[in-house]
């Protein structure tokens, strides 16, 4: 598939997630149970990006020794829990990572 087709399909499915409920479905069709489970979508899907990006290297191998990303991510997580700030989390993680690879 060409890049353009990929972009258009991704755009189409994204638009569909926004439009379908507004156009077709009444609020009552979403009960509290479905709403509750959907509220867990970010917690269910984002770690699937986070963990491999930290623990698996460019060659597709599991890497736990000599991996500065682990410590940097832990620092970012701690800063995130206490600051509840998106920007502080990203930048503390990047700063720690750069400190670990360039200075230490």
């Amino acid at each position: 598939m060409s890049n353009w087709a990929l972009i258009l399909y991704c755009g189409f499915i994204t638009y569909l997630t926004r439009f379908s409920m507004i156009a077709l479905i009444k609020k009552e069709m979403f009960n509290d149970r479905i709403r509750e489970v959907l509220s867990f979508v970010p917690s269910a899907i984002f770690p699937a990006i986070i963990f491999p990006a930290i623990f698996i290297n460019d060659k597709g191998l599991f890497e736990i020794d000599d991996n500065p990303k682990i410590l940097a991510a832990i620092i970012a997580m701690i800063i995130g829990i206490f600051s509840r700030s998106i920007i502080a989390t990203i930048f503390s993680g990047l700063a720690s990572y750069w400190f670990l690879i360039f200075v230490v």
Partner: protein
């Protein structure tokens, strides 16, 4: 209030939420160029998809060599939360013409939903939906301009900086409020473990979808159990 005033109120209300969008847009633009998308393709992604987290997921999977079907379904899965937003705001939009529904749908994004959901509940004016359009349009301007800035900067940023590490960090940042909730933490660990262990074994790089399903099933089991114990 006039349509314009409601629109402006939407802009003002959403503004504080725009600060974190800036690094996201920059990171997206820089990474897309780094991975090998052309500037026009990169800009088209922001214009056509207009969904930050899902666009970064697209890049991550694309660079890992995932199949198109997996990328498209992962983007759909990440954006499935919009179904909930749509269902919640639909009652406020039910009297509108189809054209307006088509336009407003494009602007139904996290930040606009977050601020307008409150406003729509408290106001009964027939033009209250302009608040949602104001918030969405603001985010649109920020997202497109930071993507463009990222595209321009992308060429100048050295690969040695390891900016791809910004991807897990941005998603980590989106979960900061969930680290304090017990069930969420279990769901996060389950999904992360399944994705990491399955990374090389789940075919077609579908590890994102498999891990997300494992996480959601865990959430369903745990929330059911918690209710029984109450």
């Amino acid at each position: 209030m006039s349509n314009l005033k409601v629109f402006l109120k939407g802009i003002i209300d959403v503004s504080p939420l725009m600060i974190p969008v800036v690094p996201f847009g920059l990171i997206f633009g820089v990474l897309a160029i780094d991975i090998g998308f052309t500037p026009i393709e990169t800009m088209a992604m922001s214009l056509i998809i207009f969904g930050g987290a899902s666009q970064i997921v697209l890049l991550q999977l694309f660079s890992g060599g995932a199949s198109s079907l997996v990328i498209i379904s992962s983007v759909g899965a990440v954006n499935s939360r919009h179904l909930l937003y749509g269902a919640v705001v639909s009652e406020h939009l039910s009297d509108l013409k189809l054209v307006w529904k088509i336009i407003i749908s494009y602007f139904l994004i996290d930040q606009a939903f977050a601020i307008s959901n409150d406003y729509l509940k408290k106001n009964k004016d027939s033009n209250r939906y302009f608040h949602l359009v104001g918030g969405g349009a603001t985010c649109w301007v920020i997202w497109q301009s930071t993507t463009l800035l990222g595209i321009i900067l992308g060429a100048a940023i050295p690969e040695k900086l390891g900016l791809s590490f910004a991807v897990p960090l941005t998603f980590l940042a989106l979960l900061v409020n969930d680290f304090r909730k017990f069930i969420n933490v279990i769901v996060i660990i389950t999904s992360g473990l399944v994705a990491t262990l399955g990374y090389n074994y789940i075919p077609f790089k579908a590890y994102v979808i498999v891990a997300a399903l494992a996480g959601l099933i865990t959430a369903m089991i745990l929330t059911t159990k918690m209710k029984k114990n109450e």
